[in-house]
């Protein structure tokens, strides 16, 4: 049964000069899982919002928009997990929509018990939402959407802030929701690695228009064969390598399948050279302890860290392991309970919630202020923000906000840059551009990320935090070749063959 059909559907925001969505034609059948992907700001979130009557953005619509499901049966989980909760307690948040729909107490209890048991989150019910990790918040947001038993679930970039293990668990949950509860799911995402093979259909958007729409394998092949080179960046690593190395263009989604296929092939070993300067100490943290007020445990527990000039470092670890807190201590936003912090130069900090960076009315004013009126036009071009210079930064999409915040950071005079999740909301093309830009900067850069592929290509040194302490501090190649879970899919696939192969760019056939 077709539950949704758009034909030549277009949408223009009230103050926009051109269409934000143009000629969208798509159909969704009951039980589908549909993935929407594309460049940052291409209209993914707008398209999702256009499917739910109550939050339809203000603007002009045209074309056919047939939604054969009652709007009451459509649930949406919006982007930006930090600001989507209305209540303070988990239990209040989950029952909130049922209360709004005047459910009886018995019905609410029944639905609550069912959903809580399904996801196994009994232990979270009485907790304050502010104390949950990113992954837990994501699960609570899904629970609060599912509790009304929707027929169609819309999810906007659910994996952007989850660590690899949480991401895997979350994808499994999405699959269970679809298979066991029969709920149709439409989601938008940039991290396609594990999710694309679960979808019936994928939609590739560019500049508000559908470029490709169809089965995952067909779309990935089309992207690979496209004349537009940047489209290839959107292909996840394992399918990309399988398309690259197989003569009949066979696509594998799982690294285990690809591993079997490449057994008889030969690859050149990767040569990564890291120029670490060991004698120019810029940051020295000694015996750092940190705990939040009223908290019974330390977020940072006897942490010691030395960072030299021009080092490019990635901080990795599960949600809630203390990575962001460490950056805040380096920026002096939080003060350690005990221990010493010595930093030689001025620090520039890009927080996870990038909105807090902005204070002016236009992007241009922001850049003007950060660069002390010495704007680097090349950087603006490379980050692809030329067209949004006169817009209000708060009106931009999440990915565009990140790009503007990054431009502000890079243009500032700070010699040390601390970037918290800078790849959040960025498309793969931009991520690649960012790696080039950051690697050519003569600054010390510390990045908190969950994106393993990004860390491999950017960092010279990777640090893993666990329970508030550093448990692993190694050069990037050694870090990823040794890890089992915290590593790239390419490393998992090639580790028995050659441990030095870590990312897509390392895979070169020896012909």
């Amino acid at each position: 049964m077709e539950i949704l059909e758009l034909e030549n559907f277009s949408f223009k925001y009230a103050l926009s000069q051109s269409n934000n969505l143009s000629n969208i034609s798509m159909a969704v059948n009951e039980g589908d899982i549909i993935l929407i992907f594309g460049e940052s700001g291409c209209g993914k979130s707008t398209l999702l919002k256009c499917l739910k009557e109550e939050i339809l953005p203000v603007g002009a619509l045209s074309g056919k928009r047939n939604i054969n499901v009652n709007s009451k049966d459509i649930a949406i989980v919006l982007q930006n997990i930090e600001s989507i909760f209305i209540n303070n307690k988990v239990i209040d948040e989950i029952v909130f929509q049922m209360e709004n729909r005047n459910y009886s107490k018995i019905d609410m209890q029944k639905s609550l018990a069912e959903i809580v048991n399904f996801f196994g989150i009994e232990n979270l019910l009485d907790r304050d939402i502010s104390t949950l990790s990113g992954g837990e918040k994501q699960i609570v947001s899904i629970c609060s959407a599912l509790v009304i038993k929707p027929k169609l679930l819309l999810i906007d970039e659910p994996l952007s802030q989850l660590d690899p293990i949480m991401s895997d668990n979350f994808i499994r949950i999405i699959l269970r929701i679809n298979r066991e509860l029969g709920i149709t799911i439409i989601l938008s995402e940039h991290k396609l690695d594990n999710i694309i093979n679960l979808c019936n259909k994928v939609i590739f958007l560019n500049n508000g228009s559908i470029i490709y729409n169809g089965y995952p394998k067909n779309i990935l092949t089309k992207l690979y064969n496209s004349n537009i080179e940047k489209y290839r960046y959107f292909i996840p690593s394992i399918p990309y390598i399988s398309l690259k190395v197989s003569y009949n263009k066979k696509i594998f989604f799982e690294w285990v399948e690809l591993k079997k296929y490449i057994e008889d092939k030969k690859f050149l070993p990767s040569e990564r050279i890291y120029n670490n300067i060991k004698d120019n100490l810029e940051i020295n943290l000694h015996n750092i302890y940190f705990a939040f007020e009223n908290s019974t445990h330390f977020i940072l527990n006897n942490l010691n860290l030395k960072i030299n000039k021009n080092e490019k470092i990635c901080l990795l670890g599960s949600n809630g392991s203390g990575k962001t807190t460490l950056l805040k201590i380096l920026t002096n936003i939080e003060k350690p309970f005990s221990g010493s912090v010595k930093i030689k130069y001025k620090v520039g900090y890009m927080p996870q919630d990038v909105k807090t960076i902005f204070r002016f009315k236009t992007v241009l004013e922001e850049l003007d202020f950060s660069s002390s009126k010495n704007i680097d036009m090349n950087l603006i071009k490379n980050l692809d923000i030329e067209n949004i210079l006169n817009k209000n930064p708060l009106d931009l999409s999440e990915g565009e906000m990140v790009k503007v915040a990054l431009a502000c950071m890079i243009m500032s005079k700070s010699m040390i840059l601390l970037l918290d999740e800078p790849t959040k909301g960025l498309d793969p093309v931009m991520k690649n551009e960012l790696i080039n830009i950051l690697n050519n900067l003569n600054k010390t850069i510390i990045i908190v990320t969950h994106d393993m592929e990004f860390a491999v290509d950017f960092a010279t040194r990777c640090i893993m935090l666990f329970n508030g302490s550093i448990i692993l501090d190694l050069p990037t190649d050694k870090f990823f070749s040794d890890n089992i879970y915290y590593t790239t899919y390419i490393s998992k696939c090639f580790r028995d063959y050659d441990k030095s192969i870590l990312s897509v760019s390392d895979v070169i056939l020896d012909e």
Binding site: S83, N87, N88, N100, E293, N332, T356, R359, L394
Partner: protein
């Protein structure tokens, strides 16, 4: 100092019926609005700080108060320099008289502002959005959402403003921020707060808030402690109105400050107010005594 050993979430105001809790803090605000007597306003401040510490488990740290200290000095000096009323002139500044009365009144306004801030923060933290929507969401969905936003404004203002200010300071090249930059930061923060409110409103719409008649998952029953506090609240409202009508407690800062006059009636009203201020603590102490008695008996 006496320590009341009750877990935070089980302290009296948290387990009280939301309506009574709401009524208590509104009455508290009512008291500081109708009495401008220095002793009453100082006592109101002291007990509000005690409640703040007890119900929010707050640990006072100086660096958190820098922002408020600046605000306090600003309020105080604005009144001193721009209010010409009062007849006890301390000195002349640029030919303008600076009066002792305006200084006293400035302190009164300052204490009033701090106490109001604390009361609304307590109300927001103890009730939370879910209890406010439980109380008023059924019949006034839009108004109750606005009320919860207004209440959380005090809390959000403190937490978000600190974070925002530190991030913005980090963007500055110089440690000293110019007046223009300060204004830009203030405007930026105001727009960001409005933007966050709009996101909240969008989420409420996506969750069907205000479309149907609202039900409630939690049931709050009237307990003996609710009755006790209701009695105290009603009693104090009568006492306040009576003293206002009979003009028992009167104090004026202008034209010349008055010497404090304490009589029998004043002391009686003061005792009533003290009972009101300590009632939440009293409920917890009575609870501890009751539990100890049962433990001793069985």
């Amino acid at each position: 100092m006496i320590k009341i050993n009750v877990p935070l979430n089980f302290r009296s105001m948290y387990i009280m019926h939301p309506f009574i809790c709401f009524l208590y803090y509104i009455t508290y605000f009512f008291i500081i609005c109708i009495f401008n007597h220095p002793i009453i306003i100082i006592l109101s401040l002291l007990f509000s700080i005690l409640q703040y510490k007890y119900f929010l488990n707050y640990k006072f740290k100086f660096y958190k108060f820098k922002f408020y200290l600046i605000m306090c000095i600003f309020i105080l000096f604005t009144n001193i320099f721009f209010n010409r009323r009062g007849c006890t002139i301390i000195f002349y500044l640029f030919d303008k008289p600076i009066t002792f009365e305006s200084f006293l009144y400035g302190i009164y306004i300052l204490i009033f502002a701090i106490t109001t801030f604390i009361i609304f923060k307590l109300l927001d933290k103890i009730l939370g959005r879910s209890k406010i929507l439980y109380l008023f969401g059924k019949y006034f969905p839009q108004t109750s959402f606005l009320l919860s936003l207004t209440l959380s404004f005090f809390t959000v203002l403190e937490e978000k403003a600190r974070n925002y200010l530190l991030i913005q300071k980090n963007r500055e090249d110089n440690k000293k921020i110019s007046l223009k930059n300060n204004l830009d930061i203030f405007l930026g923060f105001t727009i960001l707060s409005l933007e966050d409110s709009m996101i909240s409103a969008e989420i409420l719409k996506s969750k069907d808030y205000g479309l149907f008649k609202r039900s409630s998952y939690r049931n709050y029953n009237f307990k003996i402690m609710d009755l006790f506090l209701t009695f105290v609240i009603v009693f104090i409202i009568f006492v306040c109105l009576y003293s206002k009508i009979k003009n028992i407690i009167k104090y004026s800062y202008y034209d010349s400050y008055k010497v404090l006059f304490i009589d029998k009636n004043f002391i009686l009203i003061l005792i009533c107010l003290l009972i009101f201020f300590i009632a939440p603590f009293l409920i917890d102490i009575l609870g501890i005594i009751k539990r100890s008695f049962y433990r001793w008996k069985f």
